[in-house]
Symmetry: none
DNA sequence: AGAAATTTGTCCGTATGTATC
DNA sequence: AGATACATACGGACAAATTTC
């Protein structure tokens, strides 16, 4: 059964369902979610789709995942500062960047950040800087 | 954003960027490239496009990819770390990096910076952060 | 201490539908 | 019409970390 994504994609529907269970206490904070393999049979979706759903919850900070262990419901920590795997934001050029780009210190730049994890631990953070597109 | 392939197709642009990072030492020989999923989010491209880009690098012999493990930078690639456009230095963790690495603000990190030029102009500056190797 | 089972991480190949150049 | 690229989804296989026996 290939890919009829009428309206909402499946992974989002599944993510919503799991979020509901977490917020309603079916999966309490600190507990482990069912394994991906269990979720595939329950939702009759492929593992990739399940993982996409879980990735969405992880991006919201609702759960954390550990290699070889499972996906754990985050203990009610509010104030979710960005923990996503990649994001983009605007920053001001430090002297080094300003010199490289040939602009004044404090000029707005676009920073793209990517986080690489290795067995749960953050291994490398990459930040790529670009000039903001200008209107000529 | 659909398909504005100004001049070059997107997968080639991405391949060029990754090649730059490899040759500049941001991704040193022996290290693993970020996963396809991470690259899709960083470059905001689909998996197919990312795979095309990596396939190009593989064909050049720059990387080898192992099923179930990842894509690894070939050992034979020259490391230009100490040449013109890339350098390594020690910096102190800002709050964002400290949060990601799980260390205190001000902890020393290794920063590797690479500058990518496009017909003379500085186009992108990439900074890769790693924890300093600990002596236990 | 060591082997097996479990579970997540990653890659491979393929497929459908949509949209833009 | 064709090439490029997007998003979504499937199923399979191997790798690696953790837990269990």
């Amino acid at each position: 059964m290939p890919t009829p994504h009428y309206g909402q994609p499946r992974y989002r529907i599944i993510a919503n369902e799991l979020r509901e269970r977490i917020e309603s206490g079916v999966f309490p904070p600190g507990s482990l979610l069912p394994a991906e393999s269990a979720l595939t049979t329950e939702f009759r979706a492929s593992r990739g789709t399940i993982r996409q759903a879980i990735a969405a919850l992880r991006q919201e900070g609702l759960v954390t995942t550990e290699h070889g262990r499972g996906t754990c419901v985050t203990a009610g920590t509010r104030d979710r500062r960005n923990e996503s795997d990649a994001r983009e934001r605007e920053v001001l050029a430090d002297p080094d960047l300003a010199g490289l780009f040939g602009v004044e210190v404090g000029t707005a730049l676009i920073e793209r950040e990517a986080v690489m994890r290795r067995s749960g631990r953050v291994e490398t953070v990459v930040r790529a800087y670009r000039l903001r597109p200008t209107a000529p």
